[in-house]
């Protein structure tokens, strides 16, 4: 294998510039390895550390975005196209240092499109924030774990450069919490029966999907008097103006639409349709009010039961749309509704 060219990120302490009193130092470039980089170099002669960037813990923590820009700028300027990979740390259980390592790794991956690895103690607060985006080698809580952590980084570095899959079970990395497809040795039916027999015998068995814990939201306070409030309609049932102007997908929606209700008394098969691919669309297409109750909302508006109906409704398709994306839609729609002056929402789902 050709030599792997690496840039190493370290804090002021491991960069040999000083302790807490030097924590305000800005990013600097040094050619070649420093500190843990020298150990790394001896463990893996086929890795060449072309340069080291150091920065103070406080400097990185206080103005992270700008500081990360500076670090990335230094790497681009000094290593440019040469770099195959970025290594950051190990940062063990150091909070500020861990955060800086995570942020630098993520930035290098996104902007320089190079793989990046850090090594952290599993309880380092940076783990929760960066585990999804960044490959993190499992490290001990302090510098006593240096040799193992560096060794782990070397092994994972080679795999990443060769674009091999990383498996936390065998590679000593912290799980990214990502579900990844792979082919098993036997069929699902065979595995199910094996698992059931183990369970019946009282033997140890490992579920292939541990039940997730969904987040709970404290209830929003009620609106005491809806007769003076603006109420908005939102649906995950895929009701859109006929022709689906935003081309919202019938499953795994990547977007939501916002559509005017101005001047409309009720939805009709001519004006609206469903694009949801997860249920029999016949009934919603015959009468879209069966999913988005515009006719009734207009009646209640006229009768003064609600102040008014918001002029805009939001629609997406809930079918196979990931929870994460749904949460993003929810945040964005809430922001827009608040700007419209809506005080309460009726959300319909199919």
């Amino acid at each position: 294998m050709a030599k792997v060219h690496v840039v190493h990120y370290l804090n002021q302490f491991f960069g040999g510039l000083g302790g807490e009193e030097k924590a305000d130092l800005g990013p600097q470039w040094f050619d070649g390895p420093k500190g843990p980089g020298q150990l790394l170099q001896t463990l893996a002669p086929d890795i060449e550390i072309v340069g080291t960037v150091t920065a103070g813990d406080n400097y990185m923590a206080e103005n992270t975005d700008a500081a990360v820009d500076e670090v990335v700028g230094l790497i681009e300027k000094n290593a440019g196209a040469e770099i195959d990979l970025l290594l950051a740390g190990p940062a063990f259980n150091a909070g500020r240092y861990g955060m800086a390592c995570g942020a630098v790794c993520q930035a290098v991956q996104e902007r320089l499109e190079k793989p990046a690895i850090t090594a952290l103690y599993p309880e380092n607060p940076a783990v929760d924030i960066y585990r999804k985006a960044v490959t993190i080698v499992r490290a001990g809580s302090d510098v006593m774990g240096m040799r193992d952590a560096v060794g782990g980084m070397v092994a994972v570095a080679k795999k990443l450069v060769e674009e091999q899959a990383i498996d936390p079970a065998t590679d000593g990395t912290i799980s990214r919490g990502l579900r990844q497809n792979t082919f098993a040795e036997s069929t699902g039916a065979q595995r199910a029966i094996d698992m059931l027999m183990r369970k019946l015998r009282g033997d140890a068995f490992e579920t292939e999907y541990a039940m997730p814990v969904f987040s709970r939201v404290p209830p929003a306070p009620p609106v005491k008097d809806l007769s003076s409030a603006t109420v908005a309609l939102v649906t995950s049932g895929g009701i859109v103006p006929r022709g689906n102007p935003d081309r919202i997908e019938s499953a795994s929606a990547s977007k939501y639409g916002e559509y005017s209700l101005k001047g409309l008394e009720r939805l009709t098969p001519e004006s609206h349709q469903t694009v949801h691919g997860g249920y029999d669309p016949t009934y919603a297409n015959q009468d879209p009010n069966r999913v988005l109750p515009l006719d009734v909302m207009r009646d209640l508006e006229r009768e003064g039961r609600i102040g008014r109906l918001a002029d805009t409704y939001f629609a997406t398709v809930g079918n196979a749309t990931s929870v994460e994306r749904a949460e993003q839609f929810g945040r964005e729609i809430a922001g827009k509704l608040i700007n419209f002056g809506a005080l309460a929402v009726i959300l319909t789902s199919t």
């Binding site: 792979t182 595995r191 541990a210 691919g277 997860g278 016949t282 990931s322």
Partner: protein, 413 residues
């Protein structure tokens, strides 16, 4: 009386004059097949018949169903008599999109690894129906055309010596054998247009849950009218060759005591779901099962059915394993299921259907290719001008089958 399967192994399929089956070579008389299908299903206006073979650069789109050709040689009762089966071949129905959830079969390339139907030759029927047909009738016409074609094809082996004879009957095992009693809970969707399943010729909305023997299911007992996302819709072929039933029969009497199948519906109203789950659980209790496999079809609302059944069985002291696929987002970072329960502590994952796959252009295309952008699992930009595509596994027939037909699974990285 048991069901006797007369299995005929197909090695080659071709179009020719006069249908026939000799030394593993199956010949289809195209005109005869087309006129038979049209005579059986009046709303079909045109059928184009082609053969897709493993390894070919062939893509079939808007696949509605896959059916194994079978014909009953003897016996009128379901689960009784002789059933002639053509192995290593299937009839595939495709054509203009009816709903959103019809799928793709690739015969080679990365897509082929994700569908079981790339492994043997397929008799592909592109079906046109009378214009302006109501979607329910369109689905019915295509479903009936597929079944008619499969029956027509299977006729060729009625008088041929089978390559293999297999008896299917759930024999009683003496309780003294002290083997664990295992039942199979087999949910089928019945949710309206393109989401219905037919059990013994009737819509599964009626008459379920029901406890049945495996030979009854294997005797073409369950037919898909169903186009939930291609990845986890159970085609008629899957029902005919249910892998849970096959595996449970294999170890019956030696490793466990397979005590029966409870076919149960997955309907659209909550009260119906609760009633069905309750009745299915009671039937499993009646079978005196100690353990149960619970399979699945579809995702989203059927997660709720599965969790109710698993919870109820575990609370009744019956140990369960559930088979499900996952919708964890394209990066795998999201929660995988819409409903969960702590009792579901033993789950077999059949893969993340949101994962994307890059598919190359193909030389031969059956069905309306541009419709893939509207498939569940497709995107408006899925199909590029050069014929290459990026879709979710969701759009590939059988890719995350929740009967456990394939080997795909998911791990945490």
């Amino acid at each position: 009386m048991p069901l006797v399967l007369h299995k005929h192994a197909v090695a080659e399929v071709g179009i020719g004059t006069g249908s026939g089956f000799q030394q593993g070579r199956l010949t289809i008389d195209r005109e005869a097949l087309v006129s038979y299908v049209r005579s059986q299903v009046s709303r079909v206006t045109d059928v184009r018949v082609g053969i897709a073979r493993p390894g070919e650069a062939t893509r079939i789109v808007c696949v509605k169903d896959v059916i194994q050709p079978r014909v009953k040689k003897e016996g009128a009762e379901a689960g009784d008599g002789i059933l002639c089966v053509l192995e290593n071949v299937a009839v595939v129905t495709c054509g203009p999109i009816v709903g959103f959830q019809e799928g793709i079969i690739d015969m080679s390339g990365p897509g082929a690894e994700h569908t079981p139907f790339s492994q043997f030759p397929l008799i592909v029927l592109e079906i046109d129906v009378v214009e302006g047909l109501d979607p329910h009738l369109h689905e019915e016409a295509v479903r009936e055309a597929g079944l008619a074609a499969a029956g027509f094809v299977a006729e060729v082996c009625r008088d041929t010596e089978p390559d293999e004879i297999e008896m299917v009957a759930l024999t009683e095992i003496s309780t003294e054998a002290d083997l664990p009693r295992i039942a199979y809970v087999y949910p089928v969707l019945c949710q309206g247009l393109l989401h219905d399943t037919y059990v013994f010729g009737r819509n599964a909305k009626e008459g379920l849950p029901i406890t049945v023997a495996p030979e009854v299911v294997m005797d073409n007992g369950v037919v898909s009218g169903n186009c939930v996302s291609a990845c986890d819709k159970n085609t008629t072929y899957h029902h005919q060759n249910n892998p849970v039933i096959a595996e449970l029969l294999r170890g019956h009497g030696s490793r466990w005591n397979f005590v029966g199948i409870v076919l149960t519906p997955a309907p659209t109203r909550l009260a119906e779901k609760e009633n069905a789950a309750k009745a299915a659980i009671e039937q499993v209790v009646q079978l005196k099962a100690e353990g149960a496999i619970v399979s699945k079809e579809g995702f989203g609302n059927p997660d709720a059915d599965m969790m109710m059944i698993v919870r109820g069985l575990e609370q009744a002291g019956i140990r369960t394993v559930g088979l499900t696929d996952e919708f964890a987002g394209t990066d795998g970072g999201s929660q995988s299921l819409a409903d969960t329960t702590p009792e579901a502590d033993a789950i077999v994952s059949t893969g993340n259907a949101n994962e994307r796959i890059e598919l190359p252009a193909m030389k031969t295309i059956f069905g309306p290719l541009p419709d893939v952008t509207r498939l569940a699992g497709g995107y408006p930009h899925s199909l590029r001008d050069d014929g290459t595509m990026e879709v979710e596994l969701q759009a590939i027939i059988g890719s995350t089958n929740e009967l456990g037909f394939g080997r795909l699974t998911c791990r945490e990285v």
